[in-house]
């Protein structure tokens, strides 16, 4: 056996505890990630394949596979692929994320009028 060559997603046959059968309802952002993937993968757009999504998930980096939730892995992989495929640039993603966080904070905690 060469356990060190097993990649983090390749789980068949490993030891683990009882199955947690609690289910959470999908949050809106999780469904949104699913929808983004389906749109990018559909026949008309054909921007990324499921195989590429999976490869991206497997290669997020050491420890990340276990640390992220299911749809966190998806959006992380999708984002990396969109950069690789020259559809989005790192700089614009960074600026957009900062803008969204600022918008959200202002919406939640509007600045007091002086």
């Amino acid at each position: 056996m060469k356990p060190h060559l097993r990649r983090p997603h390749d789980l068949g046959g490993l030891d683990d505890g009882p199955i947690d059968r609690n289910e959470h309802l999908h949050e809106p952002w999780e469904k949104q990630v699913d929808a983004i993937l389906r749109l990018l993968n559909d026949k008309t757009r054909n921007i990324l394949s499921i195989d590429e999504l999976r490869r991206g998930i497997e290669e997020l980096g050491p420890g990340i596979y276990e640390k992220l939730s299911y749809y966190e892995r998806w959006i992380a992989s999708i984002t990396n692929l969109l950069i690789e495929k020259n559809i989005l640039e790192i700089d614009e993603i960074g600026r957009k994320m900062a803008e969204i966080e600022r918008r959200w904070n202002e919406d939640r905690y509007p600045p007091k009028e002086s």
């Binding site: 060469k2 060559l5 097993r6 990649r7 390749d10 068949g12 046959g13 990324l48 394949s49 195989d51 590429e52 999976r54 490869r55 497997e58 690789e84 495929k85």
Partner: protein, 86 residues
């Protein structure tokens, strides 16, 4: 199955590599995910086969029945012939 451990995106799980099973049926030709995963638009086609393994051949201390089995969908280039035809 090949006992092969290359890097990269592979759809042959670790737990069947180097194990023996029998071809249950042939599903047809599908594009090779090992190339599709890297955005290769000219990805080749491979035969995809359903391969049946006996559980007791996979795990040393299998706790179920001797009949129990598992089927995986595996691409042709991962199979190597045992020379036995049933």
């Amino acid at each position: 199955m090949l006992a092969s451990y290359p890097p990269g995106h592979i759809r042959t799980p670790f737990f069947v590599r180097g194990k023996s099973g029998i071809v249950h049926d042939i599903l047809g030709m599908y594009r090779n995910p090992e190339n599709l995963a890297y955005g290769r638009v000219d990805a080749d086609n491979k035969y995809l086969l359903r391969v049946l393994f006996k559980q007791k051949d996979l795990w040393q201390s299998y706790n179920g029945s001797g009949h129990d089995s598992i089927i995986l969908d595996l691409y042709e280039h991962w199979l190597e012939s045992s020379g036995i035809h049933i």
